[in-house]
C-alpha cells in the first residue's frame, strides 16, 4: 500500500507540528511534510492536519490571525474538493475563526490554561477519522488549552445535532456527560466537531499525545489508523 501523503501546516507560533508529524509517521506510516503557512497549494496531499500551538501567539483571539494566512485559501480549495482535514486544538480554533465550522471558542470557565487527561466519548464512528472506534467508546486523551469553551447559538447547536456533527463529547471515565467531566464549560460538552460531509474533523484533545503507551495512553492512535483505513 503506498504511503499516505500528509501535510502538517506550520503557522508562526504553531508548536505541536513536530509532535503531529511524529505521530502520523509512527502510527499510520504516513509520509509527512511540514507545510509552511505561505504555501499556496495543497493539492498533492491526501490529508491535512492543522496542529496545536499558539499560532500568532493566540493574540487577539486564538486562531484569529492565522485565518488570514495564504495557506488558508489553499485549504478552502482543498476542502472544496472534499479533502480530509484534521484540526487539533489550535487547529480547531483556526477552523472556527475561518468559519469552516460554526461557533466560537471562549475562555475556559476556570479562566486558566488546563493541561490534563480527559475522557471523551465517540459519538460517531462513520467518519473517516473514527471508523475504527465503536460508538460510545471512551477515550483517555490529554487536553492543553486556555480557550476550549465551545459556544454556539441555540440554532447552531440544534443544527449540529440535526446533522450529527458532534464527534466527541467530554464525559467521565464511564462515558457519562456530566458537568464535572466538562473541563472548560463547552456547551453540550462538545469536544470535537465535523462538517456535515464528515471530511473535516476538529477536536480540542490532542490525539498525537495519546498515540503511544509509554506516554500514558494510546487511545488516540485509532484516529490516525482510521484515516489510513479510510484512504486505503
Amino acid at each position: 500500500m503506498p504511503k499516505i501523503k500528509a501535510g502538517v501546516i506550520v503557522f508562526p507560533g504553531t508548536n505541536c507540528d513536530r509532535d503531529t508529524v511524529a505521530a502520523l509517521t509512527q502510527t499510520a506510516g504516513c509520509s509527512v511534510d511540514a507545510v509552511w503557512y505561505e504555501t499556496k497549494s495543497l493539492r498533492q496531499y491526501q490529508l491535512i492536519v492543522i496542529p496545536g500551538g499558539f499560532s500568532y501567539g493566540d493574540y487577539l483571539r486564538a486562531g484569529a490571525l492565522a485565518r488570514f494566512s495564504p495557506v488558508m485559501e489553499a485549504l478552502q480549495e482543498y476542502t472544496d474538493r472534499q479533502g480530509l482535514v484534521l484540526g487539533i486544538c489550535n487547529g480547531f480554533q483556526i477552523l472556527l475563526e475561518a468559519m469552516m465550522l460554526p461557533g466560537a471558542m471562549q475562555r475556559n470557565t476556570s479562566l486558566k490554561f488546563i493541561c490534563r487527561d480527559v475522557f471523551v466519548r465517540v459519538e460517531r464512528n462513520d467518519t473517516p477519522f473514527t471508523l475504527l472506534y465503536k460508538r460510545g467508546d471512551v477515550l483517555k486523551i490529554p487536553i492543553a488549552h486556555a480557550d476550549g469553551n465551545y459556544y454556539g447559538s441555540g440554532q447552531t447547536l440544534a443544527d449540529l445535532e440535526h446533522s450529527r456533527q458532534v464527534v466527541f463529547r467530554y464525559t467521565d471515565a464511564g462515558g457519562k456527560t456530566t458537568g464535572q467531566s466538562n473541563p472548560n464549560g463547552s456547551l453540550d460538552n462538545i469536544a470535537g466537531l465535523c462538517t456535515p460531509a464528515g471530511n473535516i474533523l476538529a477536536m480540542m484533545p490532542h490525539p498525537e499525545r495519546a498515540a503511544d503507551r509509554v506516554l500514558g495512553s494510546d487511545d488516540g492512535k485509532k484516529i490516525f489508523l482510521s484515516i489510513k483505513k479510510a484512504l486505503a
Partner: protein
Amino acid sequence: MENLETILKELNLTPEEYRRIVDRTGREPNLTELWIFSAMWSEHCSYKSSRPYLRRMPSSGKNVLIGPGENAGVVSIGDGLALVFKMESHNHPSFIEPYNGAATGVGGILRDIFTMGARPVAILDSLRFGEPDDEKMRYLIDGVVAGIAGYGNCMGIPTVGGEVYFDAAYKDNILVNAMAVGVVRDDRIFLAKASGAGNPVFYVGSKTGRDGIHGATMASASFTDETAVLKPTVQVGDPFMEKLLMEACLELMKTDHIVAIQDMGAAGLTSSSVEMAAKGGLGIEIDLDKVPQREEGMLPYEIMLSESQERMLIIAKKGHEKAVEAIFKKWNLDVSEIGKLIGTREIIVRANGQLQARLPLDMLVDEAPVYTRYARMPASITAAATVNAAELIPEPKDYRETFLSLLSSPTIGSKRWAFEQYDHSVGTDTVIKPGADAALLRIKGTRKGIAMTTDGNARYTELAPFAGSEIAVCEAARNIACVGARPLAVTDCLNFGNPENPDVMWQFIESINGISAACLTMGIPVVSGNVSFYNETEGSSIYPTPVIGMVGLMDTLEQRITPGFKDNGDVIVLLGETLDECGGSEYLKLVAGKITGAPPRVSPETERRLVDLIGALNKARLVKSASDCSEGGLAVTLAQCAMAGGKGAKINIAWRYRPDLELFSESQHRIVLTAARRHLRRIETMAHSSRIPLTIIGAVGGKNLAIGKVFSVPVETMRVAYEKGL
C-alpha cells in the same frame, strides 16, 4: 559631572569603584561609560561577592562537556547527544509584576539553552511564596504561575516539574527560579566566544525599548520604598516572538554561517557584546543607530542597558551576512548588522555619528571588583540547634485529623493547581508527568530517558546552612533515583539576602561548602548556576535558599519506576532509618507554628549508597514502586504512594518513638519501596551489603491506609485533603 554622588548612588557604584575607574582609564568617564561600568560591575553580572566561593564547587566529571562560565552547562548522555541546562532567578521582577516577571524569567532561561544550539525540551519552576492567606500573596501566586504557564505553553516547551513552598519568610520577597533543559548534538554546541577580527555583529529579535533599564542594578539592590520609582521599566514578555527567535536561531545553527551567539539578558547589549568579545580576546565596535528601536529619542545608555526581551547578538562569518539575514527575514524578525569585531581589546560605542564610549574590556570583565565580604555566624543558629523539637509537640489527640491537615497543608498538598496550568505533555516526550518524585522524559530516537527535579527545603538551610544544602543535593539525587535514573549533574540557584550583611555572607559560604561537600561525595558535578543576592526587604532577609536542579539518565525507559502502589499483597519496605527528627519539619510548623530545632542529620555518603542500592535493585527488576520521604515524613510518602496507585495499605511499625514523631519525622536517606513478596530475601541481602537499614513495614491492599492502631483513612479521603488546592 554634576551631582556625582547622586549619580553613583543611582548606578549602585561605590566612590571607591568610581576612583578605580578614573585611575585606570586616566580620565573621567562620561555618563554612558559610567552606566556600562555600573552594569558590568553589578553583583548580577560580575559576581563580585560570590566568585571566589563558587569555584569551590566540583565542576568536572567524565560526562561534563562544558562547565560553569557559558550560558548553560553541558553534559554528555551518549549516542552523540548532550543535555544543556541551567537555572535562573527572576525574583525581584516577579514581585513587582508577577505575570510578566515570571514569564520573562522563563523566556530568559530558555534563551540560555537555545543560545547553545540546543532545543529546549523541558522547564521546571521552583517557587517560594509567603503564606497564601492574604489577597496580595494570592495575587502574586496566581500571577507567577500564570506567567510561567503563559510563556512556556506558548513556546511549546513542557513544564514538567518544580516545587512550591510557602513560608512567611518570603512574604515581601518571593522567589521565582526557573530551570530549562535542552538536548543538542554534541558536535553542534555553540558558544559565546567571539573570534575573527572583522567579523560582523548582528542584532536579531525584538526592537529595543526602555524596558528594564535598571534590571541588573535592580537585581543587585534590596527593596526599599524607592523601588516604586523603578516601576515603569518592567519588561513584558512576548513568547510568540521568542518562539520565532528560537526556531530561527536553531535553523541558523544548522548552517555554518556564524562563529558565536549570545542572548541579551541582564544588562542587555552591554553585557552580551562585552562578554562575547572578551571571551575571544578581541574587541567590539557597535553603532547604536543601527539598533532596531521601539521608541523615539532613546539615549545611548538606554539602548546599551535596555533589557528588552527576545533579543540575541550574533557574530557571523564575514561574507555570510546575506545568508544570516535571509533566515531571520523568513521568520519575520528584525535583523541588523550593528558593528564588527576589532583586534584591540576594547568596546567602542557610537551613536549619531559620535563616539559615545570607549573602554578597555579587561577592566570591565577581568578587573571587575571582587569583594571578600565579612562573614559571621548568626547567633540564632546556635540558639535554634539547642531546641528539642519533640518537646514543642504535644501528642495529637486525633491522629487522623492531624495527618489530614498535614496532607492538606499548602507546602505538602498537591501542586496540581499549579502544574495543570502548565502544558506538561507538549513535545510528546513526558513519560513521568508532574506529581511523582522527578519528571522523566524520553529522547525520541533512543531508548533513553532523562529525569529531572528541583529541590531545596530552606527551613533546613535557615537552621543549618551547611547541612541544609547537603540535604538539598541528597534529596534531589534521591528523587532522581526513585524514578529509576542515576544522577548526572547539577545546576543551582543560590537565593540569599544582602551579602554586605555578615550573617548572610556566612550562610552563603556555608551553603556553597555544603553543596560542594555533597556533590563531591556523591560524584555529581555542578555545571551551571546562578546567584541571586539582595533578597531582602527593609533589612529582613529571606531564608537562605539554595535550590538544586538535577538531571539524571536511564539507559532504557523500561527501567522507570513510579511512586504508586501496584499490586495487592506486595510488600512495603522502608529503606533507611527513622530517627526522631522533627526539627525544621512541616509537622513542627503545623502544630507549633515554629521553625526551629536542628534539621535532620545528613550524610551524603549514606545517600550515595542508598541511590546506588535503588539502582541495583531496579536493575535486578526487584522494584515495583518507589518514593522518597521528605516533607511530612513517612506518613505523607505512604499516602502519596497510595493515592498514586489508587490502593490502600496495611502498615505495622514497631514504634521506636512516639508514633507521631516517627510518622512525621523528616529523617533523610529514606525510600519507601514495594516489591513482590518472593523478592524480599534478595532485596534484604542487597540492602544489607549496601549497609542500608531495611524494615518491612506492611503490605499493599484494601481501600484504606491503615497504620497499626494509630489511624486508618480511606484513600479517597486522603485525596480530598491532598487535592484541596490553595
